[in-house]
């Protein structure tokens, strides 16, 4: 039995690969090797809808599509990570922030200076 996270990823992979909204029944057929029931597919789709990753048309309630592409989601995440507002900084611990070109040059000089001292 696959984990819920694994199923969510598998469903999203298929929705991202499709060009049109996909019926839940088709998704279940594509996941037949995992032995999941249609209700499970619906449960996972509902979860994904709650999280805002999946949407369905009101006219065709049994067809689902991804709300944004995989690249869009990556870009959204990176945009938040690279932002500088206090709130964003509080959310995660980033290894180092990016610095300006001048600052980067100063840092490299600092490192090279220490290397020379170490050799001399």
């Amino acid at each position: 039995m696959a984990s819920l996270g694994e199923l969510e990823r598998a469903l999203m992979d298929r929705l991202w690969a499709a060009d049109a909204p996909v019926p839940a029944t088709t998704l279940r057929e594509e996941l037949a090797d995992r032995g999941v029931a249609l209700t499970t597919v619906h449960t996972v789709l509902t979860r994904l809808e709650h999280k805002g990753f999946v949407v369905h048309d009101d006219e065709r309630p049994r067809r689902f599509r991804a709300s944004a592409s995989r690249a869009d989601h990556s870009a959204e995440l990176m945009h938040e990570v690279l932002g500088n507002s206090g709130d964003r900084q509080a959310v995660l611990a980033r290894f180092v922030g990016s610095v300006s070109q001048d600052e980067a040059r100063l840092l490299r000089e600092l490192l090279d200076g220490a290397d020379d001292a170490g050799r001399g």
């Binding site: 996270g5 969510e8 990823r9 999203m12 999280k51 990753f53 995989r70 989601h73 990556s74 870009a75 959204e76 995440l77 990176m78 945009h79 938040e80 990570v81 690279l82 932002g83 500088n84 206090g86 709130d87 964003r88 900084q89 509080a90 959310v91 995660l92 611990a93 980033r94 290894f95 180092v96 922030g97 990016s98 610095v99 300006s100 070109q101 600052e103 980067a104 040059r105 100063l106 840092l107 490299r108 600092l110 490192l111 220490a114 290397d115 170490g118």
Partner: protein, 310 residues
């Protein structure tokens, strides 16, 4: 006339609102022992809030009795005041209430907001990226900008961008992992939370912003120190310094958005200098003196509040 206790608390509050944070932010010894310095900052923050609210409470409750707990109880039970109640007593009580609600409220709000954003980030990551087989709590995000970070919480995640992995060699990558794991193990996000919240709550207080910046820098230095302890190789300090410089200097082929470059390099430079030319550790007597001062700082306003007003 103000009772002596209220005056003492007010003086303490003023000292902790400006001169003490300014001195601690400028002190050189904090880089020699970031952990002790972090304890001191927590004490300054806690004692500052306590004395600020305490001074107002002691003054506002004075007509109901000489001890704060007793007087508060009397007021809550609706007992008549012993001395005449003037307007300034009500003003002090109202201010104390507003300040307490704001400080605690903003802290809770920050907590809820950051937790929600972390959950969203984790959900996005779990969906977009497949976990690595050998490091189950790490995720490799396909993006040219060099970025490494951790998302704290019940199920923490380490995240690396492909740009970061391309920039570093194996030893440097291990150093970054050790650094991020140190953040997670010591719950540095909890040490930062009050300072993030109070900077938001008291934007008029320059010390709040300064304290936040100082604590952020110390947390990074502490994580560097912890990481060094677990790194193999002949020169872990140099490896970590190289990783920091490589990650900070790489622009990832223009993948970094505009605003991201606004981070000042001062803190990063201080970290690199400290790694390449380590300052002598704080001698034990100085360590204990700093810890004793921090303890005293919290005990003083607490005692002034609980002990009957002079």
């Amino acid at each position: 006339m103000l009772p002596a206790t209220a005056a003492a608390l007010a003086v303490l509050a003023v000292l902790l609102a400006w001169p003490v944070p300014a001195l601690l932010a400028r002190a050189g010894w904090t880089r020699r022992d970031p952990l002790v310095a972090l304890v001191c900052w927590q004490a300054v923050g806690l004692a500052g809030g306590l004395s600020m609210i305490g001074a107002l409470l002691v003054h506002g409750l004075a007509p109901w009795g000489t001890s704060v707990p007793g007087a508060a109880w009397a007021l809550l039970r609706g007992r008549p005041a012993v001395d005449p109640v003037r307007g300034d007593h009500w003003v002090a009580l109202t201010l104390a209430g507003v300040l307490a609600v704001e400080l605690v409220g903003v802290l809770l709000l920050s907590w809820v907001r950051t937790t929600r954003t972390r959950r969203r980030h984790r959900a996005l990551l779990e969906l977009v990226v497949r976990p690595a087989v050998d490091v189950p709590d790490a995720r490799l995000l396909d993006h040219p900008a060099p970025v490494a970070f951790c998302i704290p919480g019940a199920r923490p995640l380490l995240v690396f961008s492909s740009g970061m992995v391309a920039e570093l060699d194996g030893e440097q990558l291990a150093a970054v992992v050790a650094h991020e794991r140190a953040h997670l193990r010591e719950h540095h996000h909890l040490l930062l939370l009050p300072f993030v919240a109070w900077e938001a709550a008291l934007p008029v207080l320059p010390a709040a912003a300064r304290a936040h910046a100082a604590v952020r820098e110390l947390v990074e230095m502490r994580a560097d120190d912890v990481a060094l302890g677990s790194l193999p190789g002949p020169a872990p300090r140099r490896t970590l310094a190289r990783a920091i410089v490589a990650a900070a200097g790489a622009d990832g082929g223009g993948g970094v958005p505009e605003g991201a470059l606004a981070v000042t390099g001062g803190g990063i430079r201080a970290r690199v200098v400290r790694l390449l030319d380590p300052p002598a550790p704080l001698p034990p007597p100085a360590r204990w003196a700093a810890l004793a001062a921090a303890t005293l700082l919290i005990l003083a306003p607490t005692a002034l509040l609980v002990v009957p007003a002079l």
